[in-house]
């Protein structure tokens, strides 16, 4: 029991952010028209590429003087993260470009 209280106190700011982000996410998304579901999903997908920050921190502070597991896997994390970010935003833009109003 005490440990849970300690956990809450240590992470209280993050827990507040999570609780509020859930509501924010639900509020922002729940009235999206079905016509935009696919771009919304690929755009959101690109935002989850924010994990790239973790990859950058890892590689940034890794020992770059030798080839080691941490460096190699970290580089892969950055490559994968960038793929997610760049690919996601570019393909979303491509889709949204096609949604035009009826030309009168």
């Amino acid at each position: 029991m005490e440990e849970i209280l300690i956990f809450f106190y240590t992470y209280k700011e993050a827990i507040f952010i999570i609780a509020l982000s859930i509501f924010l996410g639900i509020e922002v998304i729940s009235n999206v028209p079905a016509v935009l579901h696919t771009p919304l999903m690929s755009g959101a997908n690109a935002i989850s590429g924010v994990i790239i920050i973790g990859g950058i921190i890892l590689v940034g502070h890794a020992d770059a003087s030798t080839i080691n597991t941490e460096l190699i896997l970290g580089i892969f994390a950055v490559i994968f993260g960038t793929l997610n970010v760049v690919g996601g935003f570019v393909v979303t833009d491509r889709m949204l470009e096609m949604f035009k109003k009826k030309k009168k």
Binding site: I29, M41, G54, G60, K101
Partner: protein, 479 residues
């Protein structure tokens, strides 16, 4: 170099560190604002741009300003390595994103989702040795990041393979038991690592075993799920990746990562529930139960299917006032969206009011059909959602059903014993005439007879959707 500003709660902070946090705040706000703008067709493109700008900002400031616990910044050599990795990832991501066909969008989103999950799993794996084993909270978020990221990665890769036709469904009954064992193994290992009291180095074997078990679970969890349930699975995996990224945000106490990840997690969860609702099935039912087969489908003779000739169909359409087109995945498979738009423009020029009725699960991911029709230049205000078009169906002169089946099956309303009973459908059967374009006389995905096809008001045009539409367009032009 970096000027000290003061101390807060006993921790010293500098100009650079403060600017970094400030840039994360701006990035987080751009994510929220971007997502908000993404929810309107007019502003969606700008929203996507804002979210992307937030991401670039966060990446740049992290490279330039991030310091480790000892206050050391990122060395120039490491910066070059990071930039090279970003360059490689950007080039591949950009090329694939520009080249992909719109019909292949579900595969692509699954693939990018897989890369995000992989990145989260790798970050968690590499951060585990630094975890403070006395602080079980920090260990827990690391393990959750690893498990959820791995499941998102392997699950999305399988989803990608299935959507691309490279991986077939496996629907063995024993699979659900194997999955339960794997899930129990994942939980057991997580608890063991949390409670063992050993150092990260001693637990090295356990963390890699956890990685393998999670990856395997991701594979086997998506394996038995059928094609029509893909919209649910893609949304679910999307939310997993978001949650995994948020867990990694916990590790670094990085608010932009937490907020971005949770936003995506919430968005994915909502879409998952929407898709389940559109099929009138629970999430558990999608994951555990394979559809069809055993259902008490009403068998027996339903009457005969009546065909219509091209010239009769063209006259019927050209002299109607209201026409509704109901596209299904068959239209996408036949790549017939362009010729379909030609038909609606042709009818439009003859004064016919043509609209499209889009079922929420038409296609292979949420909203997929809208993208396909937008690609063919159909204006989005001509695309009407199910709930909005249904009240208009009795006033519709002709309903054209192209490659859709279960989403127009009246059994969902009339027959409580049907496997799809209660699923919301587009009420094509209420319109005055129905033309159904179908490849053959087969049943739909759910394996149920569709009484709409035997209705007295229904006439059928057999053949590939593209060829049939082509002939119809020529016929109407010749009228």
């Amino acid at each position: 170099m970096d000027k000290m500003l003061g101390t807060f709660n006993g921790v010293e902070f500098t100009v650079g560190g403060t600017l970094l946090e400030l840039s994360y705040l701006v990035a987080a706000l751009l994510f929220v604002f971007g997502l908000k703008l993404l929810s309107h067709p007019e502003s969606a493109r700008r929203g996507n741009f804002y979210a992307g700008a937030g991401m670039v900002l966060a990446m740049l400031t992290t490279i330039l300003l991030h310091k480790n616990a000892n206050g050391g910044g990122i060395q120039p050599a490491n910066i070059w390595i990071i930039l090279a990795a970003i360059g490689v990832g950007s080039a591949i991501g950009w090329i694939i994103a520009r080249k992909v066909k719109m019909t292949a969008m579900p595969q692509l989103v699954s693939f990018y989702n897989a890369t995000g999950g992989a990145a989260s799993a790798l970050v968690a794996l590499l951060e585990f040795p630094n975890a403070d084993m006395n602080n079980w909270g920090s260990v827990l978020v690391t393990l959750l990041g690893l498990v959820i990221g791995s499941i998102a990665f392997s699950g999305s890769m399988i989803a990608y393979g299935k959507l691309d036709g490279k991986v077939n469904d496996i629907r063995a009954g024993y699979l659900s038991y194997v999955n339960l064992i794997l899930l129990a193994g994942t939980l057991g290992l997580t608890l063991f690592i949390l409670l063992s009291g050993q150092t990260p180095a001693e637990l090295n074997w356990a963390i890699y075993l956890l990685l393998v078990v999670s990856l395997l679970y991701g594979v086997l969890f998506v394996m038995p799920i059928g094609g029509a349930d893909m919209p649910v699975v893609i949304s679910l995996l999307n939310s997993f990746t978001g949650i995994a990224a948020a867990m990694a945000g916990f590790i670094y106490a990085n608010q932009a990562m937490i907020l971005g990840g949770i936003l995506v997690g919430a968005a994915g969860s909502i879409l998952t529930l929407l898709m389940c609702k559109a099929m009138n099935r629970s999430l558990l039912n999608v994951i555990v139960g394979a559809f069809g087969g055993g259902g008490a489908a009403a068998e027996g003779e339903q009457g005969t299917m009546k065909e219509i000739t091209m010239s009769d169909a063209s006259v019927l359409l050209a002299y109607s006032r209201n026409v509704v087109i109901i596209p299904g995945y068959g239209l996408a498979v036949a790549q017939a969206q362009h010729i379909c738009h030609e038909l609606d423009e042709l009818l439009g020029s003859k004064g016919v009011n043509v609209r499209y009725a889009i079922h929420p699960v038409a296609g292979r991911m949420p909203g997929h059909m809208n993208v396909l029709l937008a690609e063919a230049d159909v204006p989005y205000d001509q695309l009407v959602e199910m709930a909005d078009i249904n009240p208009d169906m009795p006033n519709t002169d002709v309903c054209i059903v192209i490659g859709a089946n279960d989403v127009v099956n009246p059994a969902a309303i009339n027959d409580p014993s049907s496997p799809i009973a209660g699923m919301p459908i587009i009420k094509a059967h209420e319109s005055k005439n129905i033309i159904v374009m179908k490849r053959g006389r087969g049943k739909g995905y759910a394996g149920i007879e569709n009484s709409l096809f035997f209705d007295d008001k229904t006439r059928l045009l057999f053949g590939d959707a593209k060829g049939t539409l082509q002939k119809l367009v020529t016929e109407i032009k010749d009228l």
